[in-house]
């Protein structure tokens, strides 16, 4: 066990039925009444944003402004633009409705505003910021994967160099996160499957990286069990509220876990694939996980073995010889990916995701500079990253 650890989660979780209707009172309790609504064009079009706005309006809070032009891979420029818009519109709080890109963008906006800056680039770093002004901030995740509603990191693309930058500070954490089953009810099967696998990656990396600690592992293992038990059903039968809610909670628990113990090489390489080749984050996570686990096996076999009961159940784990449990854990992850592939056709190789081997050198160069690699159980240089990429191709 790591000889020293820190654990923080200051996010108030509003979980379950009719959570959306509680956003208004939460804003009021924070002294806010003029929220800026942040979302993306798709969620605005399909009515998800409207559902949230209506729930807020019914309880007496109307948005002061709305911004829905947030792209899939948001950028520093978008953050700065929204911060300026917030000031122009005289808003006093932020409500973000969306997946990882929307939430991380909102975190960046909140950081710029609370630190009273014009641009977010000047705020990059690790635990280096003072608290700043309080800007009430509520997030409503619409996927069950990123866990971003409970993490102290915002990952935002720098268009100047194509690199996804990490802003690590407890002050990016929202004040509250709303986990309402209505928000993921309409998530398509492929997105359900890949974001579910993204949450699984968060949990597995959080439990096995150098920063893992007893509290983060408690959240991580609970998340792994919930995902293993529910992701196939949620993908196959999206109207199953129980499975949907279990996945949403699992995603949040995985987020709390990795926010307090970091992730690892799956994320380092995945961020690079996103930055260089524009592979969607959750797809990259799904493809890379078993290959990185195999790469790490020599250095954290015991930790993988301990995950087996959470992945396949206690009986199946106990029936597996102790010296085979680590490999069995990897096999379980592979089997889960294949099952999801059969259900909804998610890509399982980089080739299927449209990545060219010509990009591998650049991906590797970017990956070794990603902060997620620093606590991976096994060091990786560019050549080793390329080996992993080749295995995943």
């Amino acid at each position: 066990m790591v000889p020293y650890f820190e654990f923080q989660n200051a996010v108030k979780l509003l979980c379950g039925e009719l959570s959306l209707e509680r956003i208004a009172i939460e804003l009021e309790l924070m002294g806010a009444s003029k929220p800026l609504m942040l979302s993306d064009a798709v969620l605005a079009k399909i009515g998800t944003l409207e559902t949230v706005v209506k729930a807020m309006a019914a309880e007496g809070v109307q948005p002061a402004a709305t911004f829905t032009d947030i792209p899939v891979d948001s950028s520093l420029a978008v953050v700065d633009k929204i911060a300026a818009y917030y000031r122009e519109q005289g808003c006093d709080s932020i409500v973000a409705v969306g997946g990882g890109s929307v939430i991380d963008t909102a975190k960046g906006v909140r950081l710029v505003l609370s630190q009273n800056k014009e641009d977010i680039l000047s705020l990059s770093g690790l635990d280096n910021l003072v608290r700043g002004k309080h800007v009430p901030f509520i997030v409503v995740p619409t996927t069950a994967g990123t866990g971003s509603e409970c993490t102290g990191v915002a990952v935002i693309r720098n268009d100047a160099n194509g690199v996804k930058m990490e802003f690590l500070s407890p002050y990016v954490e929202p004040d509250a996160a709303v986990i309402d089953p209505r928000m993921t009810a309409g998530l398509p099967p492929k997105a359900t499957a890949t974001t579910g696998m993204d949450a699984l990656v968060h949990a597995i990396e959080a439990c096995t990286c150098q920063q893992a600690n007893p509290l983060s592992t408690a959240y991580g293992t609970a998340a792994i069990r919930a995902i293993a038990e529910n992701v196939e059903e949620a993908t196959r039968n999206g109207s199953n509220k129980k499975a949907r809610f279990a996945m949403a909670l699992a995603s949040t628990m995985a987020g709390i876990s990795f926010s307090n113990s970091m992730v690892g090489a799956v994320h380092a390489i995945g961020h690079a694939l996103g930055g260089v080749c524009h592979v969607p984050h959750a797809v990259a996570m799904t493809i890379l996980l078993p290959h990185v686990m195999r790469y790490n096996l020599s250095h954290c076999g015991a930790a993988y073995a301990e995950l087996l009961p959470w992945l396949v159940g206690v009986d199946a784990a106990m029936a597996t010889p102790a010296d085979k449990r680590a490999e069995a854990a990897i096999d379980a992850v592979v089997a889960l990916g294949r099952s999801l592939n059969e259900i909804c056709g998610i890509p399982l190789t980089l080739k299927d995701a449209g990545v060219s081997t010509e990009a591998f050198a650049k991906v590797a160069e970017v990956a070794v500079n990603d902060g997620a690699l620093i606590v991976n159980p096994r060091a990786a240089d560019e050549a080793q990253v390329i080996e992993i990429l080749n295995a995943a191709f």
Binding site: Q210, Q211, V368
Partner: protein, 167 residues
Amino acid sequence: MMRAIQALIVAIVLRVVHAALVELRVLDSRVAKEFERMPDGLSYAIATGYQGPTLYVKWEGGKLKRLAALDAPTCSLRIKSMPLSFQLFTGQMGLSQAYARHAFTMGGEVADVMRLARLVNLVEAYLFPKVMTRRIMTDVPETEVCFLRAYARIAVGFLTCKYNLSK
């Protein structure tokens, strides 16, 4: 008293780390490659504990200059206490372990810390015996030349005032 001794040792090691980076750039191809890729003007400020020793270095004109101060470093690291600084700079804790233990704060881009982490790992592989480095790194890099060559070049460098402050 203990803190003062730790601070003195940390100050010495910081000087040696700078010297080692200068010399390993010549001796080790991986260090040379890191510097080749380093943008001109990139600078690091490393502070240790409250009012502890500092190291300011800047990569400029093909040289890693040691400076008395830096107004706006590209990357600034602040080790949170002197005991942690002592552990970090005496081979008791690696940089990745320091990260895992929340031992420092950082201003700037994470990518620059990763660059520094790779360089520090290589420096430690030369300066510390394997029995120490195995405890602080998940994978200890192999040295490309005998560590004695690095020590010899560093000793000569100090004797010839090669690592003095640049203007």
